[in-house]
């Protein structure tokens, strides 16, 4: 597939690491949750390649109970997109930072303004799970101009004809949705996780990361047998909610070790 001529910061880094035989690990952490900055630092120190910072939304339809709870707790603690981006500036970690938020956060701020706010906070990429390809044009145009890489999601339900269209618009990496369902921990890795990653790897050289339903180190390793890496959300957030930043660091370290074979 043809792709943008000049890959951005995130994609350049991911391609280079992949070329060096490295599997990519992106933990998700809900911004604004008490202790979130320490969790980001711990994850970075434990070997994360990038961090996905969640800007919580009142109605997170792609999220299961753990991330719903984290989002609600953060909102009740007074988190806003502005406060989270302000706190992001003081993180001082050396790996790239992406944000995950729902489209109304972007829409309400305005595309250009939101893209500028992200860039101003040192964010390099954005994931907007309720903004599918057909509706993504205005945001992507603003993001491209501001140098924000828009990660596109690919889903197991996509017919073969749809995947190349999604991949062609993906910047940074392709987020290969691991299962039919919302975020949350599962006992086993769904067969759809590796099946979709395989379909994507066959049509693109943009890094392919599996997310949603990758629940532990063993599942991450299984996903990485096909994919270039994993995004891990609910499993990380459960540890943050239960055990704080140290527990996040330990977990990310375990996953790092498991996929670095």
């Amino acid at each position: 597939m043809s792709h943008q001529l000049q890959p951005g910061t995130l994609e350049t880094l991911f391609r280079a690491r992949r070329a060096a035989g490295h599997k990519l690990l992106v933990p998700y952490i809900t911004g604004g949750l008490p202790g979130w900055q320490d969790a980001v630092r711990a994850a970075a120190a434990a070997g994360a390649d990038a961090i996905e910072i969640g800007i919580p939304f009142s109605d997170p339809v792609m999220d299961g109970p753990i991330i719903q709870q984290a989002s609600q707790t953060a909102l009740e603690a007074g988190a806003t997109p502005v406060s989270i981006l302000n706190e992001t500036r003081s993180l001082d970690v050396s790996i790239p930072l992406a944000v995950m938020t729902y489209y109304n956060t972007v829409h309400h701020a305005g595309h250009e303004r939101f893209a500028a706010q992200l860039a101003g906070a040192g964010i390099v990429a954005a994931i907007v799970p309720d903004l599918p390809l057909e509706e993504s044009g205005p945001w992507c145009a603003a993001a491209d101009l501001a140098g924000i890489e828009t990660v596109m999601l690919a889903a197991p339900t996509a017919p073969d004809a749809r995947l190349p269209l999604v991949v062609a618009r993906a910047r940074g990496f392709v987020y290969s949705v691991g299962l039919l369902g919302v975020t949350g921990e599962r006992d086993t890795l769904a067969h759809t996780a590796t099946a979709l990653a395989r379909r994507l790897k066959a049509i693109t050289d943009v890094p392919v990361l599996v997310g949603v339903g990758v629940s532990n180190a063993a599942q991450a390793r299984e996903a990485c047998e096909v994919a270039d890496g994993v995004v891990m959300g609910a499993s990380v957030m459960r540890r943050l909610l239960e055990g704080g930043a140290d527990a996040v660091g330990d977990f990310v370290g375990d996953v790092r070790h498991a996929i670095q074979y």
């Binding site: 009142s58 109605d59 599918p132």
Partner: protein, 386 residues
């Protein structure tokens, strides 16, 4: 061409509508759109739906002149009696259409959200009739205040799940139904209950409710020799209102959609994106969706269907709002004056009519009585003190 024709290819009514769903659901929405277009053009499907509406739902619904209220208010008031449909509301029109469509698509299961329980009961009914499995999501607050409808759904063989997240009302029931659909999209159809959600729902559900407006127009002409001066309906998502408006939108009739004061999305006129659509939405300065507050579970929704936002934005329809106190008065007024206990949702429409009557002297006013009030009796016993 009618002002309420097909939306654009991207499901837009003006700048409202669209399809803002997780990637997982995009193919399902495309499949549904194709299936609806195909079915709607298929005489066999249309005939089957027509037969069900006639012999099962009890259509056409009548219109009733309100002689007592007309005299009291100085207007000529008539009611479109959707409360007399099987299951007690207009919701059956949409549900029969979607359940037939689900079967046509080979789906074995439907998922629905419900506020007051009217759409949930209608969905459970259609599922029982047509042999589909049915799961209904209902906010925990609504489960509490509409326990009769919860039991009704269970009697009809459906599973009802109380939703404890967020405001624990209709908004959160929609979230949970969408989460279910994301996980079960290969076997389940999301039987959405209003003219909201991602394309093609706002359009498709409107077409299923167009029968209200078509009948009402003919009945008005028969009763008054003309279309009404004013057509009034309550608006939560806005399905009964859109059905009513569809009959008169190209006429001179003044169109009025009445929102609850605590859920007045159109009055605030702030566009937002939630539940798959761009429409007017109650939200804070950062775009967090705000909780609606209404005595009526069916109108307890912070958004509104996109076509209503469009009709409001071009000035074709108006969307005033009424308070819970006005609604409680109107609820009792209709019961005492006409011997009809209206659903609390519909009491919103009457509350506005009562307020606006002095400026409508002598005018013909057609109100959509979209549901009966039996479900609200227990709640009103608490409010009014038995």
């Amino acid at each position: 061409m009618s002002l309420m024709a097909q939306p654009s290819d991207t499901g837009r009514f003006g700048e409202f509508g669209g399809r803002f769903v997780p990637e997982t659901l995009v193919p399902a929405c495309q499949e549904l759109e194709a299936a609806f277009v195909d079915a709607w053009a298929d005489p066999q499907y249309r005939d089957e739906l027509h037969q069900l509406l006639r012999t099962y739902a009890g259509r056409p619904s009548i219109i009733t002149e309100c002689h007592n209220l007309s005299e009291q208010l100085g207007i000529r008031l008539a009611l479109k009696r959707e409360d007399l449909n099987h299951t007690g509301s207009h919701k059956i029109n949409n549900v029969l259409g979607q359940a037939l469509l689900a079967k046509r698509m080979g789906k074995k299961r439907i998922v629905a959200e419900t506020g007051a329980g009217q759409h949930g009961v209608a969905s459970a009914t259609a599922a029982a009739l047509l042999g589909l499995e049915c799961k209904v999501y209902m906010g925990a607050v609504d489960v509490e205040r509409q326990s009769l409808n919860v039991f009704r759904m269970k009697l009809l063989g459906s599973e009802v799940e109380a939703v404890h997240s967020g405001s624990r009302t209709l908004k959160d029931a929609v979230n949970e139904a969408m989460r279910d659909w994301v996980a079960t999209v290969e076997t389940s159809h999301y039987c959405l209950g209003s003219v909201m959600g991602p394309h093609p729902y706002p359009w498709m559900v409107r077409e299923f409710h167009r029968v209200i407006g078509d009948e009402a127009r003919a009945q008005s002409v028969e009763l008054w020799g003309d279309v009404p001066d004013v057509a009034v309906a309550c608006v939560g998502g806005g399905s009964n209102a859109i059905g009513m408006f569809s009959g008169f939108v190209d006429d001179r009739t003044r169109l009025v959609g009445v929102e609850p004061a605590g859920g007045a999305a159109v009055s605030r006129a702030q566009p937002g994106v939630v539940h798959g659509m761009r429409s007017y939405l109650m939200q804070d300065e950062y775009g967090q969706v705000q909780e609606a507050h209404s005595i009526s579970a069916g109108l307890d929704y912070p958004g509104v269907g996109p076509e209503h936002s469009y009709l409001a934005s071009i000035g074709r329809a108006e969307y005033p709002n009424v308070t819970d106190a006005e609604v409680i008065d109107a609820f009792q007024l209709m019961a005492r004056s006409e011997g009809i206990i209206p659903a609390l949702e519909c009491a919103h429409a009457l509350a506005w009519i009562v307020r606006a009557a002095p400026e409508m002297k002598g005018q013909t006013v057609l109100m959509n009585l979209s549901g009966r009030g039996d479900k609200d009796v227990a709640q009103m016993m608490d409010v009014l003190g038995g």
